[in-house]
């Protein structure tokens, strides 16, 4: 069963003559429990797709179906709760003057949920934070702990879909590993569906089953994880991105290799 269906989705910013079409006609389906990756360089429209799916950006055309239900420009609270966003920078996405408990309470208040204390305790345990962290402020937490709070805030409404916008790019390698493992565990335990946006193909290949490679608002290729790992992707642009995640490819050495191959 497909959890997300987007058909001829196009998203734009601005009105009239200055309107800018950022996403041009993309179609994809994500199955329940699957993780779909969106990869591309800055400005290619990957975060904008997430914005449209989450209901942050209402200027879209085409059709979106979530959990078998067609979504219009206006959504009900229940429809909005079904998918939640996790942002890149945990330093910027959590209110600095609210305690963690207060931050986690806010979505519950907005959506009028009951058993609030119980839900907060459950979600903190789910993301592996001690319960007394609810009395702390964001500045008393490390970057990794803060990203766990951001994930907890997304999970507290019991969504079916998590939209992850570069969830580990602001973190150190060792902390990134912890968060990626946590996301894997949560996906299995809570049977979540993910869409993961990242510029790092190694991270995407680690978590995703299928990956869409984007360039200026359109998909150039939808590759499977297997294709990435076996290096059988079709599009040249995907190759460039793959080389990038491996590090630096010196030009001189490359030329030397070609010369050696010829002679």
């Amino acid at each position: 069963m497909s959890m997300i269906k987007a058909h001829h989705l196009a998203v734009s910013y601005g009105h009239g003559e200055t309107a800018l079409k950022v996403v041009k006609d993309v179609s994809f389906e994500v199955q329940k429990g699957e993780t779909f990756g969106l990869v591309g360089e800055s400005g290619c429209g990957k975060s904008t797709i997430l914005g449209a799916l989450a209901g942050r950006n209402k200027q879209w055309t085409g059709s979106i179906e979530i959990d078998g239900e067609a979504i219009g420009q206006k959504r009900t609270r229940a429809q909005l709760a079904k998918q939640q966003l996790v942002f890149q920078d945990p330093f910027g996405s959590i209110h600095p003057r609210h305690t963690i408990g207060r931050t986690l309470l806010e979505p519950l208040e907005i959506h009028g949920k009951d058993r609030r204390q119980e839900r907060i305790e459950k979600v903190l345990t789910d993301v592996g934070l001690p319960l007394n962290f609810r009395y702390r402020y964001p500045h008393q937490l490390s970057g990794g702990q803060r990203q766990r709070v951001a994930i907890a805030r997304a999970l507290i409404l019991e969504p079916k879909i998590l939209l992850l916008d570069e969830p580990t790019s602001a973190l150190d390698v060792s902390i990134q590993a912890e968060i990626l493992n946590l996301l894997k565990d949560l996906r299995q335990r809570e049977q979540l569906t993910y869409i993961l946006v990242s510029h790092d193909l190694a991270v995407v290949a680690h978590l995703c089953d299928r990956i869409a490679i984007m360039q200026s608002g359109a998909f150039v290729e939808v590759a499977t994880k297997q294709q990435l790992l076996e290096n059988t992707v079709e599009h040249a642009y995907t190759r460039i991105l793959m080389d990038g995640s491996r590090g630096y490819v010196p030009r001189r050495r490359k030329e030397a290799a070609t010369v050696a191959a010829i002679s």
């Binding site: 360089e41 970057g143 590993a177 190694a202 290096n231 630096y248 010196p250 030009r251």
Partner: protein
């Protein structure tokens, strides 16, 4: 490997301390290394002291910081004894620094050309015409297609990749013998990063100078640098040739390597780094 006559910078037992209300915090502790005519990478996580070390070499640390070292020798200059005036003539001319994000490190109210020429006008007393000619040549050297046009642009009018190439030309126009690059490509997209790095690589090799490349990206440093210094909590835990990084001995380095998701060695679960308090004692 660099022999002694090729050594550009020698740092022995450098420490950087910050006095705070709750006692002294040591950000860098007993760090020793040498830089020859090579590309040397400093790797570490946030707070490991890698940027602080880079800044202390140029004496750009915040005023309250205390830098101690048994020796800091840059070519013929003893950096521990150099006066502020001597430091001013070294910074920018003999040691140059490239910072992470050109958006914040270029002067927003000066044109790109003026900023680059300023270096040669100040340091080498070049005439404005001479400075302009050299600036245009330098811009061309970093693969900017239309130097005449770019000369008169302001930093907000250029892209991130072009901004970083402008930074490179500004740093290299005075012919420094040592470049400290602090995360020079972290703010750039993959394809642009490749381009900026290959320009930097060519210039370092062509001029036969030293480069200290500070980064948190293991794959990047491994493929770009000749030698790698791994820092943890203000200490150097290991120094190793970049090509041998896979055979690193220290558990911290091993932990970092294993925590990295990789296209070539996929695994189901990433290893989580377990920090050993013993790493803090040398």
């Amino acid at each position: 490997m660099a022999n002694t006559s090729d050594t550009i910078l020698t740092v022995e037992n450098m420490s950087v301390e910050f006095p705070t209300l709750s006692g002294v915090t040591t950000a860098v502790r007993d760090v020793s290394f040498t830089v020859g005519r090579e590309k040397i990478g400093i790797i570490g996580e946030s707070g490991s002291g890698k940027s602080t070390s880079g800044r202390a070499i140029m004496r750009l640390q915040p005023p309250q910081a205390i830098v101690k070292a048994s020796r800091m020798q840059f070519e013929d200059v003893d950096l521990m004894k150099a006066s502020e005036e001597e430091m001013r003539s070294i910074r920018g001319r003999r040691i140059a620094m490239i910072l992470q994000d050109p958006k914040y490190s270029l002067n927003p109210v000066m044109t790109v050309g003026e900023q680059i020429s300023e270096t040669v006008i100040l340091h080498e007393r070049a005439t404005p015409q001479e400075a302009r000619r050299r600036t245009l040549a330098m811009l061309e050297r970093v693969n900017i297609r239309d130097p005449e046009r770019v000369f008169d642009l302001y930093p907000h009018e250029v892209s991130g990749g072009m901004g970083q190439r402008i930074m490179l030309s500004m740093m290299l126009i005075a012919q420094p013998s040592l470049i400290i690059a602090d995360e020079p490509t972290s703010a750039l997209d993959v394809t642009v990063r490749q381009q900026v790095l290959s320009i930097l690589d060519d210039l370092v090799v062509e001029r036969n100078i030293g480069l200290i490349f500070i980064s948190h990206d293991l794959n990047l440093v491994r493929s770009f640098c000749d030698r790698v210094i791994i820092m943890y909590a203000g200490r150097v835990v290991e120094t190793i040739a970049a090509a041998d990084l896979d055979q690193a001995q220290h558990p911290y380095t091993r932990g970092l390597l294993n925590a990295l998701p990789s296209l070539d060695h996929p695994k189901d679960r990433l290893e989580v780094l377990r920090r050993d308090p013993a790493w803090l004692e040398n």
